[in-house]
Symmetry: C2
Subunit: 243 residues, 2 copies
DNA sequence: GTCATGTGTTGATCTGAATCAAAGTCGTTG
DNA sequence: CAACGACTTTGATTCAGATCAACACATGAC
């Protein structure tokens, strides 16, 4: 899978250098970080962190997709965030989280023990600064998602989702014929968008029938017309001839 | 209006000392802050900040209620945040915001010019730390709201909203008979909850009929049974006698 | 007072998405 | 390769909440 964030910034292989920590890659602290890191893997479906559990480490996604979700007492759940490669898990200064973190696909994390990581953060203001930026970015995207959940129709939700995937996974193609991989099942997409899996499936079928997207298989998606994604129903039957 | 946050922390009158800046109130920096502050007022309905506009100041709400909202091209809008007295407006290190800020009622703000405020923040790590905490709090409540918008029913949305108001406005009453003031119109509540104003009105009526809440007038609300707020429909007709 | 105007309630109807139900597709394992 | 399970599609039906519409109730201006 392509990770534009990693190739965009020329720096060594550890993702945390890029998104979470280092806007100024030539400092000493990075060597300290480097010596602290460990890798952990989780199988698809496995829990990474439970709500309320003490937070032992911070981490950066190396590969795979993880999700943040909240659950009501009766089992209804809503994803509240999606973590793609190079994204950061962690709450500077917090020891608990308010949501579950689950591996959506097989996931590899690059982890740092929380305590020494926080010590490092406290001692290097530009790293703290970078983490604040990340938190504000998260806040902005959470608010975008609130608009989606509260006011968009099923088709608009799917369109926004596809557009987000294209934006994050495909930076080099021509304006049309973008390619993406759906990183999750219909059920998980439904949880992310505040829909049911049936509605997600129907909307994909409708977009396909309208010639806006196409599937080579269940996961691999071609967007044939990015602009039309955001248009009305594409009810193009042209008003057929009188019978 | 009662502002529990202000009375809970014994400190001088400026709200920014309490929520945004100062967990350690005896430092010199506060005097610098004190000399920087100015007050601004906005009438109900007036815009405080527009999306994309350069951000000239940070501020703390002294009185009144303001809201953050996002709007789709066709006019559908969704509130993405509600600012009550002592809440903070501002994005350390950012010069723009991604949403509109509007005065929901008449509002008074305690403002600080952004540049000198940020200088102060850069020079005093514990203030930066406090701002990070605020950002993470915001993120947590944004995610709670995502669960509400994506998965809760109209009744549950109203119940959660009422409970939030009670929690923030009324800390000293007995477990039942909590009192609150609805700080906004039905229409604004609907925008906050991802509903229409008619649905909001109907749900209030239903809760009243079920004896769970009561209105002395349109704005003043008594919660007679906080627990029952979160129960099922309260369809208590008991299965009447056979006709 | 009465006439606007903004706000709130209630009723009737419609509709988009949920729910219920049945098949179809793919990948895996024995 | 057959049989199983996980995932997906599609159809029929239902229902919560939206929409459309009318009226009620304040408040303030004149």
């Amino acid at each position: 899978m392509t990770v534009p964030h990693l190739t965009a910034v020329k720096c060594s292989e550890c993702p945390i250098r890029h998104r979470a920590v280092c806007a100024r890659c030539d400092t000493d602290e990075l060597d300290r970080l480097e010596s602290m890191k460990t890798y952990r893997s989780f199988a698809a479906g496995e829990a990474i962190l439970w709500r309320g559990e003490p937070l032992e480490f911070v981490a950066s996604i190396v590969s795979g997709v993880a999700s943040l979700s909240k659950t009501l007492e009766d089992g209804r759940t809503q994803m509240v965030g999606l973590l793609l490669p190079s994204d950061f898990i962690g709450r500077p200064g917090r020891s608990e989280i308010e949501f579950d973190v689950t591996a959506t696909s097989d996931v590899t994390l690059c982890c740092f023990d929380r305590k020494p990581f926080e010590k490092l953060v406290d001692e290097t203001p530009h790293v703290a600064h970078r983490l604040m930026e990340l938190a504000l970015d998260e806040l902005d995207s959470a608010r975008d998602w609130m608009l989606l959940l509260g006011r968009k129709t099923a088709r608009e939700k799917i369109a926004t989702f596809i557009e987000m995937l294209v934006r994050r996974s495909d930076l080099r193609n021509a304006p049309n014929n973008h390619t993406t991989v759906l990183p999750m099942t219909r059920d998980q997409i439904a949880n992310y968008l505040g829909l049911t899996l049936e509605t997600v499936s129907r909307q994909f079928s409708a977009l396909k029938k309208d010639g806006i997207i196409d599937f080579s298989d269940r996961k691999n998606l071609v967007v044939k017309n990015l602009f039309a994604l955001h248009q009305e129903t594409g009810d193009d039957s042209d008003g057929g001839v009188l019978a």
